[in-house]
Symmetry: C2
Subunit: 163 residues, 2 copies
Protein backbone atom coordinates (compact mmCIF):
# COMPACT_ATOMS: atom_id res chain seq x y z
CA UNK A 1 0.00 0.00 0.00
CA UNK A 2 1.34 3.45 -0.92
CA UNK A 3 1.54 6.23 1.64
CA UNK A 4 -1.15 8.03 -0.37
CA UNK A 5 -3.49 5.05 0.14
CA UNK A 6 -2.69 5.07 3.86
CA UNK A 7 -3.56 8.80 4.09
CA UNK A 8 -6.80 8.16 2.17
CA UNK A 9 -7.83 5.78 4.94
CA UNK A 10 -7.28 8.63 7.41
CA UNK A 11 -9.47 10.82 5.18
CA UNK A 12 -12.27 8.27 5.45
CA UNK A 13 -12.08 8.48 9.24
CA UNK A 14 -12.14 12.29 9.05
CA UNK A 15 -15.29 12.23 6.89
CA UNK A 16 -16.95 9.67 9.17
CA UNK A 17 -16.65 11.97 12.18
CA UNK A 18 -17.13 15.26 10.26
CA UNK A 19 -19.44 17.60 12.16
CA UNK A 20 -18.56 21.09 10.87
CA UNK A 21 -21.43 21.46 8.40
CA UNK A 22 -21.41 24.17 5.74
CA UNK A 23 -18.86 26.74 6.90
CA UNK A 24 -18.72 30.08 5.03
CA UNK A 25 -16.17 30.59 2.25
CA UNK A 26 -14.50 33.75 3.73
CA UNK A 27 -12.09 32.98 6.60
CA UNK A 28 -13.73 33.68 9.98
CA UNK A 29 -10.60 35.27 11.46
CA UNK A 30 -9.84 37.41 8.37
CA UNK A 31 -6.23 36.23 8.43
CA UNK A 32 -3.93 34.84 5.75
CA UNK A 33 -0.88 32.85 6.85
CA UNK A 34 2.05 32.40 4.46
CA UNK A 35 4.44 29.73 5.75
CA UNK A 36 7.14 27.35 4.63
CA UNK A 37 6.00 23.91 3.41
CA UNK A 38 8.30 22.25 6.00
CA UNK A 39 6.86 19.06 7.47
CA UNK A 40 7.60 20.07 11.07
CA UNK A 41 5.71 23.35 10.88
CA UNK A 42 1.99 22.72 11.49
CA UNK A 43 0.17 26.09 11.31
CA UNK A 44 -3.05 24.56 12.72
CA UNK A 45 -1.43 23.26 15.88
CA UNK A 46 0.91 26.22 16.24
CA UNK A 47 -1.64 29.01 15.82
CA UNK A 48 -4.64 27.12 17.17
CA UNK A 49 -6.47 27.35 13.84
CA UNK A 50 -9.64 25.37 13.19
CA UNK A 51 -11.45 24.66 9.93
CA UNK A 52 -12.89 27.93 8.59
CA UNK A 53 -10.49 30.28 10.40
CA UNK A 54 -7.74 31.37 8.01
CA UNK A 55 -6.24 31.06 4.56
CA UNK A 56 -3.02 29.08 4.67
CA UNK A 57 -0.55 29.64 1.82
CA UNK A 58 2.65 27.60 1.78
CA UNK A 59 5.66 27.00 -0.45
CA UNK A 60 9.33 26.08 -0.24
CA UNK A 61 10.75 28.62 2.20
CA UNK A 62 7.58 30.53 2.97
CA UNK A 63 9.00 33.02 0.50
CA UNK A 64 6.82 35.78 -0.98
CA UNK A 65 6.82 34.79 -4.66
CA UNK A 66 4.54 35.97 -7.50
CA UNK A 67 2.25 33.06 -6.60
CA UNK A 68 2.19 34.13 -2.97
CA UNK A 69 1.27 37.67 -4.02
CA UNK A 70 -1.46 36.30 -6.33
CA UNK A 71 -2.88 34.22 -3.48
CA UNK A 72 -2.76 37.13 -1.03
CA UNK A 73 -4.45 39.47 -3.54
CA UNK A 74 -7.28 36.94 -4.00
CA UNK A 75 -7.46 36.38 -0.23
CA UNK A 76 -7.88 40.07 0.54
CA UNK A 77 -9.81 41.30 -2.50
CA UNK A 78 -12.30 38.45 -2.89
CA UNK A 79 -12.46 36.90 0.56
CA UNK A 80 -11.93 39.79 2.95
CA UNK A 81 -8.77 38.91 4.88
CA UNK A 82 -6.98 41.92 6.40
CA UNK A 83 -4.03 40.55 8.42
CA UNK A 84 -0.99 38.67 7.09
CA UNK A 85 1.26 36.37 9.12
CA UNK A 86 4.54 35.22 7.53
CA UNK A 87 6.36 32.22 9.01
CA UNK A 88 9.86 30.95 8.23
CA UNK A 89 11.56 28.42 10.52
CA UNK A 90 14.89 27.23 11.89
CA UNK A 91 16.75 24.35 10.19
CA UNK A 92 15.10 25.28 6.88
CA UNK A 93 16.17 23.39 3.76
CA UNK A 94 16.43 26.74 1.94
CA UNK A 95 19.49 27.57 4.09
CA UNK A 96 21.37 24.52 2.77
CA UNK A 97 21.91 25.35 -0.89
CA UNK A 98 22.26 28.20 -3.38
CA UNK A 99 20.08 28.98 -6.37
CA UNK A 100 23.10 28.75 -8.66
CA UNK A 101 24.22 25.37 -7.34
CA UNK A 102 20.74 23.84 -7.34
CA UNK A 103 19.89 25.04 -10.82
CA UNK A 104 23.28 23.98 -12.21
CA UNK A 105 22.74 20.47 -10.81
CA UNK A 106 19.33 20.30 -12.49
CA UNK A 107 20.77 21.58 -15.75
CA UNK A 108 23.55 18.97 -15.59
CA UNK A 109 21.00 16.19 -15.14
CA UNK A 110 18.06 17.31 -17.26
CA UNK A 111 19.78 19.53 -19.83
CA UNK A 112 17.44 22.45 -19.07
CA UNK A 113 17.86 25.20 -16.47
CA UNK A 114 14.64 26.11 -14.64
CA UNK A 115 13.38 29.59 -15.48
CA UNK A 116 12.25 30.09 -11.87
CA UNK A 117 14.38 31.39 -9.01
CA UNK A 118 14.87 28.65 -6.39
CA UNK A 119 14.66 31.36 -3.67
CA UNK A 120 17.29 29.84 -1.35
CA UNK A 121 18.49 32.26 1.34
CA UNK A 122 21.53 32.42 3.65
CA UNK A 123 19.97 34.41 6.54
CA UNK A 124 16.65 33.46 8.09
CA UNK A 125 15.68 36.74 9.76
CA UNK A 126 16.77 38.77 6.75
CA UNK A 127 14.62 36.65 4.45
CA UNK A 128 11.61 37.20 6.69
CA UNK A 129 12.22 40.94 6.39
CA UNK A 130 12.64 40.54 2.63
CA UNK A 131 9.28 38.76 2.45
CA UNK A 132 7.57 41.51 4.47
CA UNK A 133 9.09 44.13 2.16
CA UNK A 134 7.87 42.32 -0.97
CA UNK A 135 4.31 42.48 0.40
CA UNK A 136 4.57 46.12 1.46
CA UNK A 137 5.84 46.97 -2.03
CA UNK A 138 3.13 45.06 -3.91
CA UNK A 139 0.55 47.30 -5.62
CA UNK A 140 -2.21 44.64 -5.70
CA UNK A 141 -2.54 43.87 -1.98
CA UNK A 142 -4.86 46.51 -0.55
CA UNK A 143 -4.55 46.07 3.25
CA UNK A 144 -1.07 46.29 4.77
CA UNK A 145 -1.72 47.49 8.32
CA UNK A 146 -0.83 44.13 9.85
CA UNK A 147 1.95 42.32 7.97
CA UNK A 148 4.11 40.59 10.55
CA UNK A 149 6.95 38.11 10.11
CA UNK A 150 8.04 35.27 12.39
CA UNK A 151 10.57 32.48 12.78
CA UNK A 152 9.27 29.15 14.10
CA UNK A 153 11.84 27.20 16.12
CA UNK A 154 11.38 23.56 15.08
CA UNK A 155 13.24 22.17 18.09
CA UNK A 156 11.29 24.05 20.77
CA UNK A 157 7.91 24.85 19.19
CA UNK A 158 8.40 28.58 19.83
CA UNK A 159 7.35 31.36 17.44
CA UNK A 160 9.63 34.42 17.48
CA UNK A 161 8.72 37.72 15.81
CA UNK A 162 11.27 39.29 13.46
CA UNK A 163 11.50 43.06 13.72
CA UNK B 1 -6.08 43.12 20.33
CA UNK B 2 -5.57 42.07 16.69
CA UNK B 3 -6.34 38.54 15.50
CA UNK B 4 -2.59 38.10 14.96
CA UNK B 5 -1.99 38.84 18.67
CA UNK B 6 -4.71 36.36 19.60
CA UNK B 7 -3.07 33.65 17.45
CA UNK B 8 0.31 34.46 19.05
CA UNK B 9 -1.19 33.58 22.41
CA UNK B 10 -2.16 30.20 20.96
CA UNK B 11 1.45 29.83 19.76
CA UNK B 12 2.67 30.33 23.32
CA UNK B 13 0.43 27.51 24.50
CA UNK B 14 1.72 25.30 21.68
CA UNK B 15 5.33 25.95 22.70
CA UNK B 16 4.54 25.37 26.37
CA UNK B 17 3.30 21.85 25.66
CA UNK B 18 5.74 21.08 22.81
CA UNK B 19 7.14 17.56 23.12
CA UNK B 20 8.24 16.63 19.61
CA UNK B 21 11.97 17.33 20.03
CA UNK B 22 14.26 17.62 17.02
CA UNK B 23 12.44 15.97 14.15
CA UNK B 24 14.40 15.31 10.93
CA UNK B 25 14.20 17.80 8.04
CA UNK B 26 13.03 15.31 5.35
CA UNK B 27 9.32 14.40 5.62
CA UNK B 28 8.86 11.01 7.32
CA UNK B 29 6.12 9.89 4.94
CA UNK B 30 7.94 11.06 1.77
CA UNK B 31 4.79 12.84 0.59
CA UNK B 32 4.14 16.35 -0.71
CA UNK B 33 0.58 17.68 -0.58
CA UNK B 34 -0.43 20.60 -2.83
CA UNK B 35 -3.80 21.99 -1.76
CA UNK B 36 -5.95 25.10 -1.97
CA UNK B 37 -5.41 27.76 0.72
CA UNK B 38 -9.15 27.57 1.59
CA UNK B 39 -9.86 28.02 5.30
CA UNK B 40 -12.18 25.00 5.50
CA UNK B 41 -9.62 22.55 4.12
CA UNK B 42 -7.32 21.37 6.92
CA UNK B 43 -4.82 18.90 5.43
CA UNK B 44 -3.62 17.84 8.90
CA UNK B 45 -7.05 16.80 10.13
CA UNK B 46 -8.15 15.43 6.78
CA UNK B 47 -5.10 13.26 6.02
CA UNK B 48 -4.16 12.53 9.62
CA UNK B 49 -0.80 14.26 9.26
CA UNK B 50 1.40 14.99 12.26
CA UNK B 51 4.42 17.26 12.58
CA UNK B 52 7.27 15.80 10.52
CA UNK B 53 5.12 13.76 8.11
CA UNK B 54 4.71 15.67 4.85
CA UNK B 55 5.43 18.82 2.90
CA UNK B 56 2.31 20.93 2.55
CA UNK B 57 2.23 23.42 -0.34
CA UNK B 58 -0.81 25.67 -0.68
CA UNK B 59 -2.02 28.56 -2.81
CA UNK B 60 -5.21 30.08 -4.14
CA UNK B 61 -6.94 27.17 -5.88
CA UNK B 62 -4.37 24.49 -5.18
CA UNK B 63 -3.30 25.19 -8.74
CA UNK B 64 0.05 23.93 -10.06
CA UNK B 65 1.86 27.21 -10.73
CA UNK B 66 5.56 27.87 -11.36
CA UNK B 67 5.93 28.31 -7.59
CA UNK B 68 4.23 24.98 -6.96
CA UNK B 69 6.59 23.29 -9.42
CA UNK B 70 9.57 25.01 -7.75
CA UNK B 71 8.42 23.77 -4.34
CA UNK B 72 7.80 20.23 -5.61
CA UNK B 73 11.22 20.12 -7.30
CA UNK B 74 12.88 21.15 -4.02
CA UNK B 75 10.71 18.70 -2.08
CA UNK B 76 11.70 15.73 -4.24
CA UNK B 77 15.28 16.62 -5.18
CA UNK B 78 16.55 17.89 -1.84
CA UNK B 79 14.23 16.28 0.69
CA UNK B 80 13.34 12.92 -0.81
CA UNK B 81 9.56 13.00 -1.25
CA UNK B 82 8.23 10.61 -3.88
CA UNK B 83 4.43 10.86 -3.80
CA UNK B 84 2.29 13.89 -4.68
CA UNK B 85 -1.28 14.51 -3.51
CA UNK B 86 -3.24 17.37 -5.14
CA UNK B 87 -6.38 18.68 -3.43
CA UNK B 88 -8.98 21.08 -4.81
CA UNK B 89 -12.35 21.46 -3.06
CA UNK B 90 -16.05 22.21 -3.58
CA UNK B 91 -17.36 25.78 -3.18
CA UNK B 92 -13.92 27.13 -4.17
CA UNK B 93 -13.54 30.89 -4.57
CA UNK B 94 -11.69 30.23 -7.84
CA UNK B 95 -14.98 29.08 -9.39
CA UNK B 96 -16.60 32.47 -8.72
CA UNK B 97 -14.68 34.81 -11.03
CA UNK B 98 -12.68 34.96 -14.25
CA UNK B 99 -9.06 36.01 -14.71
CA UNK B 100 -10.13 38.74 -17.13
CA UNK B 101 -12.75 40.20 -14.80
CA UNK B 102 -10.56 40.07 -11.69
CA UNK B 103 -7.57 41.62 -13.39
CA UNK B 104 -9.67 44.31 -15.09
CA UNK B 105 -11.12 45.27 -11.69
CA UNK B 106 -7.62 45.58 -10.25
CA UNK B 107 -6.48 47.61 -13.25
CA UNK B 108 -9.47 49.92 -12.87
CA UNK B 109 -8.63 50.53 -9.22
CA UNK B 110 -4.83 50.51 -9.15
CA UNK B 111 -4.01 51.52 -12.71
CA UNK B 112 -1.77 48.49 -13.22
CA UNK B 113 -2.74 45.04 -14.50
CA UNK B 114 -1.06 42.18 -12.62
CA UNK B 115 1.45 40.27 -14.75
CA UNK B 116 0.40 36.99 -13.12
CA UNK B 117 -2.47 34.75 -14.20
CA UNK B 118 -5.15 34.67 -11.50
CA UNK B 119 -5.75 30.95 -12.32
CA UNK B 120 -9.52 30.98 -11.84
CA UNK B 121 -11.25 27.90 -13.27
CA UNK B 122 -14.84 27.04 -14.24
CA UNK B 123 -14.69 23.23 -13.73
CA UNK B 124 -13.33 21.69 -10.56
CA UNK B 125 -12.55 18.16 -11.75
CA UNK B 126 -11.05 19.44 -15.00
CA UNK B 127 -8.73 21.77 -13.09
CA UNK B 128 -7.55 18.89 -10.93
CA UNK B 129 -6.70 17.00 -14.12
CA UNK B 130 -5.01 20.12 -15.49
CA UNK B 131 -2.88 20.33 -12.34
CA UNK B 132 -1.90 16.65 -12.61
CA UNK B 133 -0.95 17.19 -16.26
CA UNK B 134 1.22 20.20 -15.42
CA UNK B 135 3.20 18.05 -13.00
CA UNK B 136 3.50 15.11 -15.40
CA UNK B 137 4.77 17.52 -18.07
CA UNK B 138 7.34 19.25 -15.84
CA UNK B 139 10.95 18.34 -16.64
CA UNK B 140 12.30 19.18 -13.17
CA UNK B 141 10.20 16.86 -11.00
CA UNK B 142 11.97 13.49 -11.06
CA UNK B 143 9.42 11.08 -9.48
CA UNK B 144 5.96 10.89 -11.07
CA UNK B 145 4.82 7.36 -10.22
CA UNK B 146 2.23 8.59 -7.71
CA UNK B 147 0.65 11.91 -8.68
CA UNK B 148 -3.00 11.74 -7.66
CA UNK B 149 -5.67 14.44 -7.65
CA UNK B 150 -8.66 14.85 -5.34
CA UNK B 151 -11.66 17.04 -4.60
CA UNK B 152 -12.42 17.72 -0.94
CA UNK B 153 -16.13 18.22 -0.20
CA UNK B 154 -16.28 21.07 2.31
CA UNK B 155 -19.84 20.29 3.40
CA UNK B 156 -19.31 16.58 4.15
CA UNK B 157 -15.59 16.24 4.92
CA UNK B 158 -15.21 13.63 2.15
CA UNK B 159 -12.20 13.35 -0.18
CA UNK B 160 -13.03 12.13 -3.70
CA UNK B 161 -10.39 11.05 -6.21
CA UNK B 162 -10.52 12.58 -9.70
CA UNK B 163 -9.69 10.14 -12.48
Amino acid sequence: MSVTDELLQNAESYAASFDKGELPLPPAKHVAVLACMDARLNPYGLLGLAEGDAHVIRNAGGVVTADGLRSLAISQRLLGTTEIILIHHTDCGMLTFTDDGFKASIQAEVGIKPSWAAEAFPDLDEDVRQSVRRILDDPFIPVKDSVRGFVYEVGTGRLREVK
